[in-house]
């Protein structure tokens, strides 16, 4: 199975070809786009540098203890990142657990099964969702999602799955679970929209071949089309994950903002982006400010690590796929 269609483009060689490319502007275009790509890299490096310098005091005073300590006390100036790392990872995980099956399912329906008119209407509304500012999601969540979680969803989960430690405890309506749900809602448009595009890119011959071999419509979709569009689907999940890790406003409005680590998803928690947004403007002490910048650095590194792990997973699965005849 082909991994990418971009690599297949033919490239002319030799001096005459080079001159021709230069005349027709190819070389100029290459240099300009190279400059653009490099500038992005520079921004990333600059960001990392600033975060590193800005968190100098916190790194000196707390060292690696910053990552493992769960104290956050601006009065006595003791700072640790662990509850925030935990909250960020847990809410993002909950978001993906909800959003990936839902989003992929919707994308399959829209790309493979729905009539074109229905598909394009649905897609229009889904892409509209992606344009809604996150503070609007947060406000809506406070007034609709939070009461719903407190009075319906959390009691239901507690009754049916209450034997699991993640569904124990009091119902506040705000907490990891609600944070995860709002993130799922916010990341769904990305997953649906990009996965749908990827599925639509799959050549019709693939489907016809599967059908000709006697596969049902669903077998052809699930066993041929979806694996073929795997890269695009993974890409959409990446984008969703990045959005979930870095989302600030909507999460801080529904997560309860309590820097502690609890097993129950009903409990209030805190995320890295949320505490930076909450406390940065009023942070007055030097070390306090540096600790907040340090949290920014932690989020940056956390994103890199999670992305790297996810990419390795993809490489592993793609290799296995490409060795098939």
């Amino acid at each position: 199975m082909a991994t990418s269609s971009v690599l297949a483009a033919p490239s002319p060689t030799g001096a005459r070809a080079f001159l021709k490319r230069l005349r027709s502007g190819d070389e100029v275009a290459r240099l300009i786009t190279l400059a653009f790509a490099t500038s992005i890299l520079l921004v990333t490096v600059g960001l990392l540098y600033e975060l590193w310098i800005g968190s100098a005091l916190a790194r000196q005073r707390f060292g690696f203890g910053f990552l493992t300590s769960s104290a956050w006390d601006p009065v006595s100036e003791r700072f640790g990142a662990l509850p925030f790392i935990y909250g960020t990872v847990v809410t993002s995980a909950v978001a993906l657990i909800i959003a990936v099956p839902l989003g992929l399912g919707a994308a399959i329906f829209l790309a493979e099964l729905a009539p074109p008119r229905v598909s394009s209407t649905f897609t229009f509304f889904i892409e509209l969702l992606a344009a809604v500012p996150s503070v609007i999601y947060g406000l809506l969540a406070i007034f609709t999602l939070v009461p719903l979680m407190r009075t319906v969803v959390e009691p239901f989960l507690s009754r049916t799955l209450g034997f699991l430690p993640i569904f124990k405890g009091a119902f506040y309506g705000v907490g990891y679970l609600t944070g995860g749900v709002i993130l799922a809602i916010m990341t769904l448009p990305f997953i649906i929209s990009i996965s749908r595009e990827a599925l639509l890119e799959v050549p019709t011959e693939q489907r016809e071949a599967a059908l000709a071999l006697g596969a049902t419509r669903w077998e052809s979709t699930w066993q041929v089309v979806v694996p073929y569009a795997r890269l695009g689907i993974f890409g959409s999940i990446f984008l969703a994950l990045a959005r979930a890790l870095g989302e600030t406003m909507a999460v801080t409005m529904v997560i309860g903002n309590d820097p502690s680590i609890r097993a129950s998803l009903f409990a209030p928690g805190y995320t890295i982006a949320a505490i930076i947004a909450n406390e940065f403007t009023e942070a007055t002490g030097e070390i306090y400010l540096d600790a907040l910048v340090g949290l920014g650095l932690v989020l940056f590194l956390l994103t890199i690590v999670i992305n790297a792990v996810a990419r390795l997973l993809i490489i592993a699965t793609t290799r296995r796929g490409s060795t098939n005849p």
Binding site: D258, T281, T284
Partner: protein
């Protein structure tokens, strides 16, 4: 041809406008968000008083105001809490603190079956926020609220999640009335809360309290008045239960005026006085003690005089408590210290 003329005319007009604007003295300020509504009004009205001056104010938060003041990127700052000695030691020109208006905080709550205005003692407020008083039918609460039928329900404590002057005032008050709070938590714009949920802004706290049965939170008096939230009485230092209003907030400052230090860096929570509401604070302008630019100095000094006299009249209509005259007199004297 005609169209070009219109464009040339418009361009010329714009340039003239810009030149006129340029002729004004531009003063940049930044800081606290709590007094932003009245500061916005003041700086707007002030352009009519002093036509040569234009004050731009960015409400970026007290911490940001202090930082920008220290780095000298603004002409003056604004903060909901006084600068500490350590912060002052890093400034080029020592800041003069000018109280502008007052704000009060009130406890708001939502308890099933309770419609009366509750009465809180300092001990019950500290107990609730320390997590010591866990249920609404606690004997302490019953004692100060005879006749109220409290439910046997857990208290859900709500506090601000964003760093804010409001939290500073609330925790400063609790530190004054409860030695245990002072020792284990302390006062700051954000603290390590023993119990409770954090919500963003007054609107977040009010929203969460409104929605969660048997909860309590604290919000600014202005916000409670404007949105008609129910809020309780608080017992002051002389043993009177007061329901906060603008007059009782101003009285707190008057009560504290006698013992006020010359630099106005003072917390006036739990102030003496029979009618002084206890959870009250100034908000300050931070003016450098030396202003190098003569035109800016003139504009700022004129503004301070105006703010202390005519400016105060705007306070009540915007929900802020005006300064008591004892404090105004002292501030007038401080203006002469600006070099």
């Amino acid at each position: 041809m005609k169209r070009t003329n219109v464009w040339v005319g418009a361009f010329a007009a714009l340039m003239i406008l810009l030149a006129v604007a340029e002729a004004k003295v531009l003063v940049n300020a930044a800081g606290a968000t709590f007094p932003y509504p009245i500061y916005g009004k003041w700086f707007d009205e002030f352009t009519k008083v002093d036509r040569d001056a234009q004050i731009n104010y960015q409400s970026i938060g007290s911490g940001g105001g202090i930082r920008q003041f220290t780095e000298g990127t603004v002409d003056f700052g604004a903060s909901d809490m006084p600068m500490t000695n350590e912060q002052i030691s890093r400034t080029k020109y020592k800041p003069l603190h000018f109280p502008t208006v007052l704000g009060g905080l009130v406890p708001t709550y939502n308890i099933s079956g309770v419609t009366q205005d509750l009465k809180f003692t300092p001990e019950t407020l500290a107990g609730i926020y320390l997590g010591k008083i866990k249920k609404w039918n606690d004997p302490e609460l019953k004692k100060s609220n005879p006749g109220v039928n409290f439910p046997d329900a857990e208290i859900l404590v709500v506090h601000r999640s964003d760093g804010s002057g409001t939290t500073f005032v609330w925790t400063d008050y609790l530190s004054k009335v409860s030695p245990e709070w002072k020792k284990s938590v302390g006062a700051n714009t954000s603290v390590s809360w023993p119990v409770g949920l954090g919500a963003k802004g007054n609107e977040g706290v009010a929203g969460l309290v409104k929605q969660s049965p048997n909860s309590i939170g604290y919000v600014e008096l202005i916000y409670a008045l404007q949105t008609k939230l129910p809020y309780g009485f608080v017992r002051n230092s002389s043993g009177t239960f007061l329901k906060a209003d603008l007059a009782s907030v101003t009285d707190a400052a008057a009560g504290a005026a006698k013992a006020m230090p010359a630099d106005f860096r003072v917390s006036i929570t739990n102030a003496p006085g029979k009618n002084a509401y206890p959870i009250v604070s100034f908000t300050w302008l931070l003016i450098p003690s030396k202003i190098e630019d003569a035109a800016k100095k003139k504009a700022i000094v004129t503004f301070l005089h105006w703010m202390l006299t005519d400016g105060q009249k705007y306070a009540a209509s915007l929900g802020y408590a005006p300064l008591p005259k004892e404090v105004v007199g002292k501030e007038e004297k401080q203006i002469s210290l600006i070099q």
